[in-house]
């Protein structure tokens, strides 16, 4: 307990000792994590958008014109029994016409020339979650196309697929950029700690002569690194929050868009905590790297 207080006090003293380098280390870590955080924000928001779009995905199964009512019932039964179908709604020819008229009152004259009601009846299907991936939807639709009474199966998920592709690229970019920036901030933190070690080399030597073990001497520096990292993480969160609010105020789209909650969201508490932990780890690794030199020096 007493030793723990000693370690933390030493770490704080070291941080105070090299204010400028501490500032640089914190700023670098903050910048690193902020860059990464921007990606993470974009990524998490797009991903949640993609997920919510996917759950909104509707597949329309058009019924062949002239299918007798028993055929329609058979098709309905078939769909109901299908494990891929989570919910389905039947839109009769009459309903379709009424919908069209209600939606496009100006164009309703277009239908006049086409004899009586050219619109087909349809089933509007919400797929079960397991069937919402791009491949699964395609397979499911292809299978249904050959069912009796089916004219056509329609779904539009091109742009959902595009979104998924973007999300995939973002993941890659985040990993790449994250790696490079992490290496940078580990290096900076390591040299910050090295400066402290250098500034205190005489004191370290005295500690050794007094009978301090290597780990007793090193622990304060490890704590110092971790503290620098957490501070960097906190600063980056503040920066991200500020930037996020600015972004939202400028071009935020309040409310809903395409029936989807399109407002961007900031990190959940969990993700924010993870960023702090990431800072801590970066700092810790940085100090471990610098303290390794100390171990190599003769005792």
């Amino acid at each position: 307990m007493k030793r723990l207080i000693h370690f933390v006090r030493e770490a704080v003293a070291n941080i105070r000792l090299n204010r400028t380098t501490t500032l640089i280390a914190v700023a670098t870590t903050a910048f690193t994590l902020a860059c990464f955080g921007v990606f993470l924000l974009l990524y998490l928001n797009l991903r949640s958008m993609a997920t919510s779009l996917q759950s909104d995905l509707k597949v329309v199964v058009y019924v062949k014109d002239g299918t007798p009512p028993p055929g329609v019932s058979d098709l309905q039964a078939l769909l109901k029994a299908d494990p891929g179908v989570q919910a389905l709604a039947y839109v009769s020819k009459e309903q379709a016409l009424a919908d069209f008229r209600a939606q496009f009152p100006e164009e309703s004259h277009l239908l006049q020339g086409l004899g009586d009601n050219p619109l087909p009846a349809s089933f509007i299907i919400t797929l079960a979650p397991a069937y919402r991936s791009p491949d699964a939807v395609r397979r499911w639709a292809d299978r249904l196309k050959s069912a009796p009474g089916v004219e056509q199966v329609q779904y539009s998920r091109d742009w959902i697929d595009n979104l998924n592709t973007i999300v995939g690229y973002l993941e890659l970019a985040a990993v790449g950029i994250g790696t490079v920036l992490s290496a940078a901030s580990v290096t900076i933190i390591a040299s910050t700690i090295r400066l402290t070690l250098f500034a205190r080399r005489d004191e370290i030597e005295i500690m050794r002569l007094i009978g301090a073990t290597g780990s007793f001497i090193k622990i304060p520096y490890l704590i110092e690194g971790a503290m620098l990292g957490v501070m960097g993480g906190a600063v980056s969160l503040a920066m991200l929050r500020g930037g996020f609010e600015l972004f939202n105020a400028r071009l935020g789209m309040p409310g809903r868009f395409l029936g989807i909650d399109s407002g961007f969201h900031f990190f959940s508490g969990q993700v924010a905590a993870m960023i702090l932990v990431a800072g801590l780890l970066l700092g810790f690794v940085g100090s471990v790297v610098s303290v390794l030199d100390l171990g190599r020096a003769k005792s």
């Binding site: 007493k2 030597e205 007094i210 009978g211």
Partner: protein
């Protein structure tokens, strides 16, 4: 307790110690004499493993110092108290914290640390300066803080390099008395000094070094 066999130590190819042999028994009080540059500090440094030796062997409490693993060195040092010629106090810590350091390193409980530190500070007469930084103390006071730190741990071996170098005769006398008391409690004491007064006051074994060689060893068994 301390066995030194044919020890030779070079600094940049110049010998600081040449073929030194010395046996010190448990509970002995030995004074190490010799002109400046004779190798007294070097010999003490070898004993607390602050510098590697080039030839010969040193056994401390039966353990071969040269073969000690680096991780074992701190534990050997914890059994010794060292008064450094240049004090080696931590400049940013108070007198109290400096003296408490050997105990902190070992993780002694707080109340015991307090008691031992105060006891050591009182023994050397600097307990009234315990909140000060070393730089605010006179050289003699700093030296006494260093002595307090060396005895706080009740060491088995006490190595003191010129421990009265910055003190007047009266103060030096008190410090030597302190060493004698510690020695009487069973600690083996080795003191390097130029001070004639100290030698007379102790009246025990005197080993003299000159140019890295033992030139005399008098009063053994006294």
């Amino acid at each position: 307790m301390i066995q030194i066999f044919h020890v030779t130590k070079y600094y940049e190819r110049r010998p600081a110690l040449t073929d030194v042999n010395l046996q010190i028994e448990k509970g002995e009080f030995v004074l190490l004499m010799g002109p400046s540059g004779a190798g007294k500090t070097t010999l003490l440094k070898l004993l607390y493993c602050a510098t590697p030796l080039d030839e010969g062997q040193i056994l401390i409490q039966g353990r071969n110092v040269a073969r000690l693993k680096p991780s074992a060195v701190p534990y050997l040092r914890r059994t010794m108290g060292v008064v450094f010629q240049d004090f080696k106090l931590l400049p940013k810590k108070s007198v109290y914290d400096n003296v408490a350091l050997p105990l902190l390193v070992q993780g002694l409980p707080a109340f015991e640390t307090r008691r031992k530190v105060m006891e050591a500070l009182k023994a050397v007469g600097v307990d009234h300066r315990k909140e000060s930084r070393p730089a605010m103390l006179s050289a003699g006071e700093q030296q006494r803080v260093c002595i307090a730190r060396s005895i706080v741990n009740s060491p088995i071996i006490l190595l003191a390099d010129e421990p009265t170098g910055n003190m007047d005769a009266e103060l030096a006398r008190e410090i030597v008395e302190l060493f004698k008391t510690i020695n009487a409690r069973g600690t083996t004491v080795l003191v390097a000094t130029h001070n004639r007064q100290v030698i007379e006051q102790v009246g025990r074994r005197v080993v003299t070094l000159d140019q890295g060689k033992v030139v005399s060893d008098e009063g053994k068994g006294l």
